[in-house]
Point group: C2
Chain length 323, copies 2
DNA sequence: TACAGTCATAGATAATTATCTATGGTATTG
DNA sequence: CAATACCATAGATAATTATCTATGACTGTA
């Protein structure tokens, strides 16, 4: 016999109107406040009563007051409406990028500099969750293919029409040797001189390795002795302990140069630049967009890279247009 | 630029459907479960997305999964729906009378016996709030006129077509004197003998007083000395201390007879009965109805009043029919 | 008692919603 | 790669909702 409330017909509009009626104690007043006519409000109430299956208001001394059930319904309304409101605010924040999450995929080397951008950003946007994925070029390409992240940092972006790339920071590759390396003071140092040195190299999937390999190929020189080490940091330490020479991003060395030094090899530093890479068709999470805007505004200050700033600005332009 | 969610268009139905889609991860499945067609579900989702202003689901490996916003929306849905559900349960309880409130207005004397009904009822229905109002007959009549309570207990119900009354308990009025009263052992004690005694009487508004007055009037006797005291309890104590005789409900005396005794006055006890009184047109709160049902089931046991039980049963019949 | 103010109901209409069937595009899976 | 399963869109329709204007009923006050 007991009929439960017809929840499915319940509308937030109805609750809004009802809550206002309870607050004002008058249908007419509510009608005015909500820019409706009095009969409209009257009927809304009627409908709500039908949904609830129980009288919710009665008149008492010229005022409309909730019945006992109406009281509970009013509390419910307040509760539900305010929750919906909180969600609405969340949406706003989300849309502004001030809240939410995004993920960024970094090529190994880039992890030495990205913190200088991500740190301040997170500081300024504590409600944003950033997931940082790190791997070598090949691993990142795989992630990229699978659409696993929102933004990527490559030094050589995949060539794809659907891709937008903005070079934002130069990433010079330098040759380094141990602290008291005998090549350090040599003028006009050539690769020819170094070809018998042992080179500690990153694995083939890495961008640093590829760039160096390409340059080496262009010189026609072949190295006699190499050793492969899959981590920049490990390479740096190995060089410092005299195991050989290496080609590394200047950022890797600049970060903590103890024990190693740059060698003035001709043709170096090899120029290369990191790019922010995003997919055209992918709608960036607002938080990711906000990060790029943030970067755009701090590149010059943080790295003295006005060109990078412009490139990122351009990227943002395009993204905005595509939205 | 930021568009807040169109809350007013939000429907619980939409949230129900959405929540189910998130749970099943499939529009088709939801369509089946909710006895809809797949396109219907599809369109519901679309509409919800428009209300939210943001994509809420995407497809991933053949499953429908919520976006970040969708996740939040799902949580919101769960939250809102469960709250509505709680309210719905509350409604059920309210309708069954197992929860809620009602008020009952008692004529003074009745407060000596009603607790024996209200106590067990409250015990059995802890979620029901009972408000007990107590006053003399006149005060209760005033409350009755103003529709202030749900149920009243009178010994002489107001005569009004719109009133339903069920006599449920006899309320004999007895004459009492102090413990060692000289009239105690007298046979064929008449009022004539007592007319020079001082009588301690309730105020004119009280039912006890009116009943006694009426009876006294029928005897043609006038009392020489009376004193008015507005409380049964105070009268009982006054009698015990030898200040005079009194007419009281037997229930008042039975409760704690210390210091007083009944006198075997001819014509006494005066018969009278308490009635439950409700207004015909007033829809009784379910809790009040439940109380009367409860009473109906316990009168015989508690007071050995099968007639009262029948009268109350009849009252309930009528109320049920009028609902 | 007549007047104001307030709520309810009736009747009408435009807008929105809830659904369906049919069909087309895509992704998953043998 | 064909078959299958699944989702989106179109087009159509019935039902419901949101409103309005007009009017009636009731209530409390001048």
């Amino acid at each position: 016999m007991v009929l439960v409330m017809k929840v499915r017909q319940l509308t937030f509009r109805l609750l809004q109107v009802y809550a206002d009626v309870v607050r004002t104690g008058s249908l007419t007043a509510t009608a005015n406040r909500l820019h409706l006519t009095q009969p409209t409000v009257s009927q809304q109430l009627k409908r709500l009563r039908e949904i609830v299956g129980e009288p919710i208001v009665r008149q008492e001394e010229g005022r409309v007051v909730p019945t006992e059930v109406g009281q509970s319904l009013y509390q419910l309304s307040q509760d539900l409406l305010s929750r919906a409101d909180v969600f609405s605010q969340y949406l706003d924040e989300y849309n502004s990028g001030g809240r939410g999450r995004f993920s960024i995929g970094l090529v190994n080397t880039a992890q030495y500099v990205l913190p200088r951008l991500l740190g301040p950003f997170s500081q300024a946007n504590p409600q944003v969750d950033v997931t940082v994925e790190v791997g070598n070029r090949q691993q990142m390409l795989n992630r990229f293919e699978r659409h696993e992240d929102d933004i990527y940092v490559f030094s050589h972006p995949p060539t794809d029409n659907a891709v937008l790339a903005a070079p934002f920071l130069s990433n010079p590759l330098v040759v380094v040797g141990p602290e008291h390396c005998r090549w350090a003071g040599v003028k006009d140092l050539t690769m020819e001189s170094l070809k018998n040195e042992r080179f500690l190299l990153r694995e083939p999937g890495s961008a640093t390795r590829r760039t160096f390999d390409a340059w080496l190929y262009s010189t026609g020189i072949e190295l006699r002795s190499t050793q492969q080490i899959a981590s920049n940091e490990a390479i740096r330490l190995a060089v410092a302990s005299g195991m050989g020479l290496a080609v590394l991003s200047r950022h890797v060395v600049a970060d903590s140069p103890n024990g190693v030094q740059k060698l003035p090899l001709q043709g170096f530093p090899l120029k290369s630049r990191w790019h922010f890479v995003v997919r055209r068709e992918r709608r960036l999470p607002p938080a990711a967009y906000r990060f790029l805007s943030f970067v755009q505004g701090s590149l010059t200050q943080a790295f003295d890279e006005p060109e990078g700033e412009m490139a990122v600005a351009e990227l943002l332009q395009v993204l905005k247009a595509e939205r």
